[in-house]
């Protein structure tokens, strides 16, 4: 690992994203905020990994090996960021700030990378970004306690603004939602990272899970219904919620355990309302509706 304080050269061939040079225009504000391009690259790598973790083809069992490798990469980045101290910065910034519902710079950077990397076959995840999947479910094959998380990546209008960057990085629970484009909104009982999402773009149905404390590295998702979500989406969402698909005990432990820094916490279980939510999709649905209602009130839309 890179020792603390060492800056990688910008042109380090090992990790330079395809279009690192194009970051300038939209992220100029951000770039000023973060002086190191290494951090930017690391960030984008992290975002990319998380998106990969989320987007799995649901018809067939997801590849466990690939998921484990990506999760290990994420964990590695997370550890490094913790060492660097960037982690805490992000947490604090996140806690302090009202997260505007803007998409992350990093995400746009990611999209940009996808554009630039068009010479290779586009990865499905990035393609998803472009095409604006409204919701995809990911069930981590048993290895993560998570399950269904929604990632909505719509090619929304680029409202990336600088502030969202810090708040953004997926890694913090709520940040993760920012990743999902519109700021995040969390439930009341969760920690203070309330994000008001105004003008949510596109359909987003991130599934919110419990982010008990700010320490919890990977956050949870909330269900937002800016517009009535298409039913097939929800059906798809719930059709895959299958307690027997992953180890129930891990899910339960995820639900109830004390928050700990683990990459799998990122994709956490269904809702914070308790383990029972898992067992019946009906209750999930009602919970989601409830959440939706609450969010709408908060958002005032």
């Amino acid at each position: 690992m890179f020792p603390k304080g060492t800056k990688r050269k910008f042109s380090d061939p090992g990790e330079e994203p395809a279009s690192s040079g194009d970051h300038a225009p939209p992220s100029s504000a951000v770039a000023r905020t973060l002086s190191s391009s290494y951090s930017l690259q690391r960030q984008s790598l992290l975002d990319m990994s998380l998106i990969k973790l989320q987007l799995c083809h649901m018809l067939v069992e997801p590849n466990l090996c690939r998921s484990v490798l990506i999760a290990n990469t994420v964990r590695q980045i997370q550890e490094e960021m913790t060492q660097d101290g960037t982690w805490q910065i992000m947490t604090q910034a996140l806690a302090a700030a009202q997260c505007p519902p803007d998409r992350l710079v990093a995400t746009e950077v990611l999209c940009r990378q996808a554009d630039a990397a068009a010479q290779s076959p586009k990865p499905p995840s990035v393609a998803g970004l472009e095409e604006g999947y409204s919701s995809e479910e990911v069930v981590m094959e048993g290895d993560v306690e998570t399950e269904v998380t929604m990632s909505t990546l719509s090619a929304a209008p680029p409202q990336l603004s600088s502030a969202s960057y810090l708040a953004g990085p997926f890694v913090m629970g709520p940040c993760w939602q920012e990743e999902e484009e519109d700021g995040e909104c969390e439930e009341d009982e969760e920690d203070s990272e309330e994000c008001v999402s105004e003008g949510e773009e596109g359909d987003q149905d991130p599934l919110s899970a419990d982010s008990r404390t700010g320490e919890q590295v990977f956050g949870t998702f909330e269900i937002k219904h800016p517009a009535p979500p298409p039913d097939p989406v929800l059906d798809e969402l719930f059709s895959d919620v299958d307690p027997s698909y992953y180890d129930l005990d891990t899910v339960l432990t995820g639900m109830q355990s004390a928050p700990k820094m683990g990459p799998y916490d990122l994709l956490e279980s269904l809702s914070s309302h308790g383990p029972t939510a898992l067992s019946s999709s009906a209750s999930c649905r009602s919970d989601l509706n409830e959440l939706d209602h609450i969010m709408e009130i908060i958002v005032g839309s």
């Binding site: 690992m1 061939p13 090992g14 990790e15 330079e16 994203p17 395809a18 690391r42 790598l45 990319m48 990969k52 649901m58 018809l59 067939v60 069992e61 590849n63 466990l64 090996c65 690939r66 484990v68 490798l69 999760a71 290990n72 990469t73 590695q76 980045i77 990378q113 996808a114 990397a117 010479q119 290779s120 076959p121 586009k122 990865p123 499905p124 990035v126 094959e141 048993g142 290895d143 993560v144 306690e145 059709s239 895959d240 299958d242 027997s244 698909y245 992953y246 180890d247 891990t250 432990t253 995820g254 683990g262 799998y264």
Partner: protein
């Protein structure tokens, strides 16, 4: 030096002793002389060999015996150590083998039907049969034609012998997931009788297939006609004995055993034991041992599933039995380690007998280090002394007696190291390339992108990159070595890294166990190349 004639003086030594000493002296002289002659002859032989073979590396197996002599052995390092040395070669074929195109199977058009994508290739033990499995669950077996008398140098062609649907798509209702019918692996069983047996597996189920020929059929039944209609009983006046008459060759494949419901995760490997009675099947977290005769029970011999799935950081990627020792097998992991286990030690082989892991080079550490160290394939050599592992960028050869590091490392496509981020993005970094040995374990082969495949000659330290493409598909056209230009300047005929087509990858390759014939699978075509006959 008086003789023994003077017996008076007591100081004179015994004549017998003197004679003995004299004889002894002669013997010693003779011995010395013969050693010198021997030594000289050996030196001469050595120098002759050296000049004949050329200045390239001498064969490593000791060519000169240790000679005790007045002068030390000559220095052209007779015992070359195996660890990697820069390959010096003319860049031509591995040693003197030149490969030429033999056949291509599969559709010609570029429109690839998903179901036709080849997912595994395997020769049987004699090399006469070549089996391929595809994504649509079908197995196609090719048989080599006997060598023709007119062209003795040209090895027989492979023609379709049998095609059958091995696996069907299933739906797991419990998890609401489809189970793909794609054939992940095919392994042949050693032939015991006239029929051939193979194991084929998809993600969840292993099947034992019997492939048998029928070229005779009984004729002359008493109670029914040839077409099956019943004969009129009143018209039967005499009894006859049915006889076998020849018919057109028919090849039948019938499933003999179905081994199912033993794997929670997706099966990635199967391997037949050298005892020909058992085999193992490995999924991401467990390895099971089966008896070929018993399909409703299997033993779990490796289980790396953690109690808490959150702590999962490593999965099994491949497993194989030792070719000679029926109690030994290895399994590789996504962290770049290979564990060798002995089934005699305990029923559950979670504790490895040996752990093969190369320490990481701290200088080349990056975020992708772990991903590219994940081993995608592990294969024992035919001799059983070595083992080869394939990770994303390299092929490593391990001596089973040395766990600390591989004895040889070959870089397959080092030029991709700077592209890891984009390869991660388009998921190519997760491609699981396979590798294979040739019949006498002197050359190893593996695939790469742009329909390139690479061969590494271990003895001559040469490597070559060849391409499987339609353009080189003229009969007996010699394959021209390809080169990827890594530096700034691109020479003629070289291809730059950026113009490589990453959608065209060669994952599955197989080498005939006895001959220089290779089968290389591109996306939906199977290329067969053979050594250029003289």
């Amino acid at each position: 030096m008086g003789g023994g004639e003077n017996t008076g003086c007591p100081i004179q030594p015994d004549p017998l002793v003197i004679r003995f000493l004299r004889t002894f002296k002669e013997v010693l002289k003779f011995v010395l002389f013969s050693y010198t002659v021997l030594f000289g002859a050996l030196l001469l032989a050595r120098w002759t060999t050296y000049f004949m073979v050329g200045k390239t590396a001498l064969p490593t197996r000791g060519s000169t015996a240790r000679v005790r002599g007045p002068s030390p052995s000559p220095s052209p390092s007779p015992l070359q150590t195996l660890p990697e040395s820069a390959h010096h070669g003319t860049g031509g074929g591995s040693s003197e083998v030149q490969w030429c195109f033999s056949q291509v199977k599969g559709a010609i058009d570029d429109d690839v039907a998903e179901a036709d994508i080849i997912s595994t290739v395997e020769f049987n033990d004699s090399g006469e049969l070549l089996a391929t499995g595809d994504k649509g669950g079908r197995v196609v077996i090719f048989q080599q034609e006997p060598e023709s008398k007119t062209q003795p140098q040209c090895r027989g062609e492979y023609n379709v012998y049998s095609t059958f649907q091995s696996h069907e798509p299933e739906f797991d209702s419990l998890k609401s997931l489809e189970i793909e019918e794609k054939i992940n692996k095919i392994r042949w069983l050693p032939q015991k009788n006239a029929a051939q047996f193979l194991l084929s597996t998809n993600d969840k189920t292993v099947k034992l297939w019997k492939i048998s020929e029928r070229d005779k059929r009984p004729e002359g039944y008493n109670l029914k006609e040839e077409d099956g209609r019943c004969r009129d009983f009143n018209a039967i006046t005499a009894l006859r004995v049915p006889v076998f008459r020849p018919m057109d060759l028919m090849v039948e494949a019938s499933p003999r055993r179905v081994f199912s419901n033993a794997h929670t995760y997706l099966i990635n490997s199967i391997s037949v034991n050298s005892d020909c009675e058992t085999y193992l099947s490995a999924d991401d977290l467990r390895v099971n041992l089966w008896n070929l005769e018993i399909n409703d029970r299997s033993f779990n011999i490796v289980d790396i599933k953690p109690a808490n799935m959150e702590e999962l950081t490593e999965v099994i990627t491949a497993a194989e039995f030792h070719p000679n020792q029926c109690n030994t097998f290895v399994y590789s992991s996504s962290k770049g380690t290979v564990r060798l286990c002995d089934m005699r030690a305990s029923a559950l082989c979670d504790n490895h007998a040996k752990l093969f892991e190369e320490p990481e080079d701290p200088n080349s550490r990056s975020f992708f280090s772990e991903i590219i160290s994940s081993i995608s394939d592990v294969k024992f050599s035919h001799s059983g002394r070595y083992m080869m592992t394939r990770d994303y960028l390299s092929v490593k050869i391990w001596d089973l007696n040395m766990e600390a590091r591989p004895v040889e490392t070959y870089q397959v496509h080092e030029y991709l190291r700077s592209k890891l981020c984009s390869l991660y993005e388009n998921d190519c970094i997760f491609d699981k390339f396979e590798c294979c040995w040739n019949g006498n374990d002197s050359v190893v082969m593996t695939g790469s992108y742009n329909n390139f495949f690479r061969m590494f000659d271990r003895g001559y330290r040469q490597d070559v990159t060849l391409e499987a493409s339609r353009e080189n598909s003229k009969p007996r056209a010699v394959l021209k070595p390809r080169k990827v230009s890594t530096g700034g300047k691109r020479k003629k005929d070289e291809i730059t890294v950026d113009s490589l087509d990453f959608s065209k990858k060669i994952i599955h390759t197989a080498w005939h166990p006895l001959d220089n014939i290779i089968a290389v699978a591109t996306t939906n075509n199977l290329y067969i190349f053979q050594e250029k006959g003289n």
